[in-house]
């Protein structure tokens, strides 16, 4: 009996620990919940106009920083590049499109196959540092880490340890803060493609309600769905949007359930920031429409799929490798726009899309080309506070998105 009692007490202690750990985990997340909002809103409302004024010059500030880390010995024929991916190409999403970018980069720059080493399924903990060191020992002069915020910290340590090797983390955010000469970040302005895709959704919806399955309450996701919503709203002022987070980058079953719940609540165009195809197939099953991310889903959901907003990962790789070969300084924080081709749309599925969608998208592209950007005021958040004033444009200060405001008209389920 005594032993049993001990076991029971242990279990209760475990339970308490689990709950407290869980609460601790949620605390540092982006403050979109109710508790932290007043403070955040107050500061951001005061700060953002200055960010808007100075945002465009932030890159110049990095230029001033001494980055003399040139390697004149490196040429096109002897440069060796390593890649680490958290997944492998069978995900048909993020890692697949990154790998396609690598193939494109090799073709454009004329690299041989033995000049590129790719490591898939690298764990997102300190083992990634070990893998990076393996790549360096195999003779890599430039190491890419594709995606996964967790790679950033380990890569940063390696960058400090190996000052002669260049490190490049896509979708990371540490480089503009740390400003090491050999550590770089990049991410395309994916929100521009999301905005354009949103136009197709705004024109297609009959119920004026969009659904969005997001992965985490994380700036990259929030920036993406805010831009998507603004795109829809630009052609359909009455449109609203519901967002459900799955709390996972890829969980087919939960994404299917979340998509079904959104459809049952009246959403008739779905989009997603998650890697499985389940949202598209749920839309197909229920006779509604879908807009994808990073991959063309016409094969999977021919009657539901409109188009996808995609990121062309070859552009930042070409930038980094060509600069290295030409013995120039690689940008600390590089971001390509829709006009650079760093993000793009898949061909519109005209059999499904509403009439005039392509024309509306083309008009918006022309607006982007004229220097206009997505987050242009007046914009209000879901509490009614003005976050970007009329006539002012919010420019992302770094390549990694920082936009964390839930816009008026967007409802995050559960918040």
């Amino acid at each position: 009996m005594k032993k049993q009692l001990t076991v029971q007490i242990l279990l209760v202690v475990c339970l308490i620990l689990a709950i407290s750990a869980c609460l601790a985990c949620t605390a540092p997340q982006p403050a979109t919940g109710s508790a932290a909002v007043p403070v955040e809103e107050a500061t951001s409302a005061a700060e953002e106009p200055t960010a808007v004024e100075e945002g465009a010059d932030d890159f110049n500030a990095f230029e001033a920083h001494g980055r003399a880390n040139r390697r004149p010995d490196i040429t096109k024929d002897n440069v060796k590049i390593g890649f680490i991916h958290y997944s492998d190409i069978s995900d048909m999403g993020f890692t697949y499109s990154n790998y396609q970018g690598t193939l494109e980069m090799m073709k454009v720059l004329g690299l041989r196959e033995d000049q590129v080493i790719t490591k898939f399924n690298v764990p997102e903990d300190s083992a990634s540092a070990t893998t990076i060191k393996e790549l360096i020992e195999e003779g890599c002069d430039l190491v890419f880490a594709c995606g996964s915020v967790a790679f950033g910290d380990n890569m940063l340590e390696c960058a400090r340890e190996y000052p002669n090797i260049e490190f490049y983390h896509t979708t990371g955010w540490l480089a503009p803060i740390e400003r090491l000469p050999n550590f770089h970040n990049s991410f395309a302005k994916a929100y521009q493609a999301r905005y354009l895709a949103g136009i197709a959704a705004g024109l297609k919806t009959k119920t004026n309600k969009l659904g969005y399955v997001g992965a985490f309450p994380y700036a990259e996701v929030i920036s993406g769905f805010s831009a998507f919503y603004l795109g829809a709203k630009s052609v359909n002022p009455d449109v609203t949007m519901d967002v459900i987070y799955t709390n996972s980058w890829g969980d087919a079953m939960l994404e299917d359930q979340a998509a079904t719940a959104l459809i049952q609540s009246g959403c008739d165009v779905l989009s997603q920031h998650s890697s499985s195809t389940a949202v598209a197939t749920a839309a197909e099953k229920n006779g509604v429409w879908h807009i994808g991310y990073n991959v063309d889903l016409t094969d999977v959901a021919p009657n539901a799929f409109l188009l996808s907003a995609c990121v062309d990962w070859s552009k930042d790789q070409i930038h980094a490798v060509s600069y290295m070969i030409e013995n120039k300084d690689i940008e600390t924080d590089w971001s390509g726009s829709y006009m650079d081709g760093a993000c793009y749309l898949t061909p519109l599925n005209t059999a499904v899309a509403a009439d005039g969608t392509q024309e509306a998208i083309d008009a918006a592209v022309a607006k982007l080309e004229s220097g206009w950007d997505v987050f242009t005021g007046p914009l209000k958040d879901s509490q009614g506070n003005i976050i970007v004033e009329d006539g002012v444009t919010f420019h992302e200060p770094t390549s990694c998105p920082t936009w964390e405001h839930i816009l008026e008209g967007v409802t995050v389920v559960g918040e």
């Binding site: 029971q8 689990a18 609460l23 048909m92 087919a252 197939t281 999977v300």
Partner: protein
Amino acid sequence: MTNFVNFLNAIGLAFVPLLLGALGEILTEKSGHLNLGVEGLMYMGGIGSIVAAFYCEQALAGSGIANQPLIIAVCSLLAAMLVGGLGGLIYSVMTVTFHANQNVTGLTLTIFGTGIGNFFGEYVGFLTSGGFLSIGENAKKAFASILPAVSGGETLELHTVGGVFERLFLDYNWMVFFSLILAVVMIWFFNRTFLGLRLKAVGENPAAADAAGINVALYRYLATIIGSGITGIAGMYIVMVNSSGVWSQNCIGGRGWLAIAVVLLSTWSPVRAIWGAMIFGGLSIMRLYYPIQGVPMQIYDLMPYIATIIVLLMTSIRQLKEHMQPKGCGLNYFREDR
């Protein structure tokens, strides 16, 4: 009201893989095998079913044979059981014939099955033009809701009584009914058949069963292989219904472990596994239908495990014999040690 009906309907779709996984594991554990490889077996069943459906559909295309969705469904089901059963065979050979540690073998099977699933998902996918391993229209029909067929194509509005009835009891695919029937059959098997009693004896006390003339190795082999086959069907459900017949990498996503938790929650009874799976399924999707303002979603994701801990606490306090894990579970049987 509509939201509540939709929520119940969603539970009816969410509990099936957990129930099938739990039923397979209960059958396995009743024979004295603690198989922790449920997650891997689900992957194996899932990939088996989708590859079979994919090639079956291609073979049937243009042949003019009637009832193609039915043939594809049967093919897919058999393949899921076969490949899942193959996983069970590996497990049995390791533990019964070679006396390998059951826990280690089960965990290895998880890693093995996950790898097999993702490898073949990628391999067959890249043989197709679009890069996706995806079934076509005919095969999708096999896993659609049976409601249109039952009601003759007309569905009632949700705000009428008939509409609510249809949505609550009929608007499911055939696998939902299959899993419930299977649970009932298993209760009958354990409590009303000679074979079931013998199997329970093997799981409780293999030495006594052996002395009574029961072939312990044969019972353990068969129960594990059939149990793993049933677990394989759970994977089939996730791939064919939730992912709609498109292979997504890592699609099982930990449901195998949840199914093991359902076994604990159900205290090794198939009928309680139905309720256990429904509670788990309901808790896992509750935040999509009834979100509570300010409660972080991680708390919801934690709920099934809290429920399991509470049930474990209660059963260990009450100490009822019929709610206990089979005594021989997790221990290999050495005849020489008798």
